[in-house]
Symmetry: C2
Subunit: 249 residues, 2 copies
């Protein structure tokens, strides 16, 4: 609200950008799309893809446009949602920049297209970024960490995991997603029971796919449900993380 002001000297307009945390599963590992910065500040550093919000577009449209520019994929095919907004005064040395972070989840996407305006876009294993080895530009490490946690909890209560799987997919494909994103193995039998019982999560195609070896697996498409009931909880692990996440800055 641009109201009850009184301090016109204290407020100054800011640049508004969107940053994208684009996650995918490749080779049984969670990857994030990063671009190499082609200019100062942080020249040469890796960063999340993103860019300015244009004059006549909504934030969601800006995120969708950037997503398509960076991946070459029609953004409507991926899951895309706003996560959090970052606006610390010091986060960009050039001035006040507010960035709205979006989380995008998709199946094993093509290697980033040339021709995008991103310098050398590439997939990086999320683990290698978060274990402190690689520091991203600006506050992008924080954005990635917090968005990943959002993704992890989204898997508990929603059906977004299916967004990672190219259709049609098997129950094992879906389980792999959960295991890779959460970072620990699940019991195949119990997992199957839960996801197949959940209403409108999976829609059987009637077809089968033979793996390299072993019994052929039934194929499914994404159902209409967006919320998962009952949810697929991570149980005890939650209790550990809860003191690290919830403080204001």
């Amino acid at each position: 609200m641009i109201d009850n002001d009184g301090d016109p000297g204290q407020v100054r307009p800011a640049a508004v950008t969107v940053d994208l945390v684009i996650l995918t599963v490749r080779h049984d590992e969670l990857h994030v799309l990063l671009v190499e910065r082609g200019k100062e500040p942080h020249l040469g550093r890796l960063a999340l893809p993103g860019g300015h919000v244009r004059e006549n577009e909504t934030l969601d449209q800006a995120a969708l446009r950037e997503l398509e520019e960076e991946t070459g994929v029609n953004g409507h095919l991926l899951h895309l949602e706003q996560v959090h907004t970052y606006g610390d005064p010091g986060r960009d040395p050039r001035g006040r920049v507010i960035t709205v972070a979006y989380l995008a989840l998709g199946p094993d996407l093509p290697v980033p297209v040339a021709g995008s305006d991103a310098q050398g876009a590439r997939w990086a294993p999320v683990e290698s970024v978060l274990d402190g080895q690689m520091e991203l530009a600006f506050d992008h490490s924080t954005i990635l960490r917090e968005s990943l946690e959002r993704a992890r909890s989204q898997l508990e209560y929603t059906t977004v995991a299916a967004a990672f799987c190219p259709e049609p997919f098997t129950v094992s494909d879906l389980r792999k997603v959960y295991e890779v994103v959460w970072g620990f193995p699940l019991d195949p039998s119990n997992f199957r029971r839960k996801v197949t019982r959940a209403e409108r999560f999976l829609e059987p195609t009637g077809e089968f796919r033979a793996p390299q070896i072993g019994r052929p697996a039934a194929l499914y498409r994404r159902g209409e449900a967006r919320l998962l009931f009952p949810p697929l909880l991570r149980s005890g692990d939650v209790a550990d993380a809860q003191f690290t996440a919830t403080t204001l800055r």
Copy 2:
């Protein structure tokens, strides 16, 4: 990220504000704090309290400051969290305004202080705003609706409900919060069993409070837990709402 630009003509800085959805329970009804606008546009209309983010403060700090200005309450005593950011090009006729919405939950707060810069701040029953009778300024009806839904689901997975209760409080006080926010009654016995079993949700004081009539109730304080495990699910009701919420704009 203020990067990969190329279109300096297409980007223009925007005003950045925070808007607050301050909820409280009074007289067994959910209320939201609204202010009457003292200038155009939407002069005289009711709106969410909020204001500009200043030069050297974070978004969280701005929200905290506005919260204290509007309620006169030390914001650190309330639950405050960022919810969503709204930035449609047309949402403010004066130009591009990006607003970061914050959700604040607190116990029955004092009637809004005079001396704040808000013209006639007041508590309004949430229901009366959302049933379409009263249209708020700008897109504030949308912000309120979406923030309320966030609050409702927060009650399922976190311990924020206790933020509505002035300490010390009884299990019935807490149940009332759930009933008022969710909008339907809960079984007192089963509710008690769940919240008292959840680890570190409630911390008994050992004291009791006698109601007007009936058996005295044990008193509790908020425990340290921020996440609620196991969660307190709304069950079936979730399935209904799920198709209305999750689309990009």
